[in-house]
């Protein structure tokens, strides 16, 4: 005898209804780094675009930072923790493998027994998470999702490795996504580079980040503009409809190269481009939500704006989509 299973009843679309972010208290300038490593302010500013970044306190955890960002995002959405049924944390910097950041974030926020799981898509984590949240809501598997990107990269960087110690930083960003009668989060475009599985990684047994910087730079400046164009096409809008561009904040020169290419392809001259790396550094999966929330608070991203986000990093893996700014 054959039986059939129910399927969940989903929603037509989803929308981002709240954002939040947290940057640790300690601000570290280029000059401070130059006291212990052979580098200088000018090199860092011109090569990477960073002026300062935030480092977490030694005892501050990925989950504590994530919960602070999540709490803001829930409040921003006008919701309560009890309204969240699914918690997803994008992170690649937990100190242990068998440890759910999502469950700890839920516990810190008092979200009782949500579906909770972590995503590791490195610096593309937030965009992968948003795609998953959108799909879960549209399929009816989830109602309201808290998506957090949280990283403590300083745990994974050799402080004497000048190429990486100047780039990576700590922080968290978060979004609340819920059901909508219209699609306010567009379809994701994602993919990966199977010939670049070793281009960014961590050393064994030292557990410190390494990367082939120029290979990543070449790849990001050539591949990611196309990803952005594809995400716009897939969402059914025109490039000139995009108000805000938020690329993963890896290197300001990558951000500039993406923006230049998109303007050449028809993006508006007044496209507002996230340059949050200047004071936040590279916070991997947290960089997109931190950058967008800070643009919103500064008034450079406004409610109703169409945002184009692209994430890319270790894998190499990448993802991008268009969504409406809450």
């Amino acid at each position: 005898m054959s039986v059939t299973l129910n399927t969940a009843t989903g929603r037509q679309g989803s929308k981002v209804v709240g954002l939040g972010h947290y940057r640790p208290e300690r601000v570290v300038s280029n000059d401070e780094l130059a006291k212990t490593i052979d580098t200088n302010d000018e090199w860092i500013r011109t090569r990477v675009g960073i002026a300062e970044r935030h480092f977490a306190a030694p005892d501050e955890t990925v989950e504590q930072m994530g919960a602070k960002a999540g709490e803001q995002a829930i409040a921003d959405a006008g919701l309560r923790p009890s309204d969240i049924d699914t918690v997803m944390v994008a992170t690649c910097t937990l100190p242990a493998q068998i440890r759910q950041a999502s469950t700890k974030v839920a516990s810190l926020l008092g979200i009782v027994s949500p579906g909770s799981f972590d995503i590791n898509a490195a610096c593309a984590g937030f965009c992968y998470g948003l795609a998953n949240a959108n799909s879960l809501i549209r399929s009816g598997e989830a109602g309201t999702v808290l998506l957090v990107g949280a990283e403590k990269l300083t745990d994974w960087v050799d402080p004497t490795d000048r190429a990486n110690a100047i780039i990576f930083a700590d922080g968290a960003g978060a979004a609340v996504i819920t059901g909508s009668d219209t699609a306010e989060v567009g379809p994701v475009v994602w993919g990966s580079e199977i010939e670049h599985t070793e281009t960014i990684g961590t050393t064994v047994p030292e557990r410190k980040i390494y990367q082939e910087g120029q290979t990543v730079f070449r790849w990001a400046t050539t591949k990611i503009p196309q990803l952005a164009l594809d995400a716009v096409a897939k969402s059914g809008v025109q490039l000139s409809d995009i108000d805000v561009l938020v690329p993963h904040q890896a290197n300001l020169r990558i951000v500039d190269a993406i923006a230049r290419r998109l303007r050449a392809e028809g993006a508006r001259e007044d496209l507002r481009v996230a340059d949050d790396i200047v004071t936040t550094g590279n916070t991997s999966s947290a960089s997109v939500p931190i950058a967008l929330d800070r643009m919103r608070k500064a008034g450079t991203a406004r409610s109703g704006d169409l945002v184009l986000a692209v994430g890319f990093g270790a894998g190499l893996t990448y993802a991008g989509q268009v969504f409406r700014c809450p």
């Binding site: 090569r47 120029q214 290979t215 730079f217 070449r218 400046t221 290197n251």
Partner: protein, 80 residues
């Protein structure tokens, strides 16, 4: 594009566009780093555009060997 005399002007145009160095200053004897003040990331952008323009592959490890403009012209000549 066939010979050396056509590669140099094409390359100079790319250098001007990427790094803002006037094309006229981009002559064979110049060192990219020391004379033209072009850093390694701009070199990558120049390589990407040169690949398109001249139909060559310039891998990252090769890039480090292209010290002068003439090195680049010769490399493109040999490999296209």
């Amino acid at each position: 594009m066939s010979d050396n005399t056509e590669i140099l002007p094409g390359l100079a145009e790319i250098v001007e566009e990427v790094a803002g160095v006037p094309a006229a200053d981009v002559t064979g004897d110049k060192s990219f780093t020391d004379d033209l003040d072009i850093d390694s990331l701009s070199m990558v952008e120049i390589a990407v555009q040169a690949e398109d323009k001249f139909g060559v592959k310039i891998p990252d490890d090769e890039l480090a060997n292209l010290k002068t403009v003439q090195d680049a012209v010769d490399y493109i000549q040999r490999n296209k």
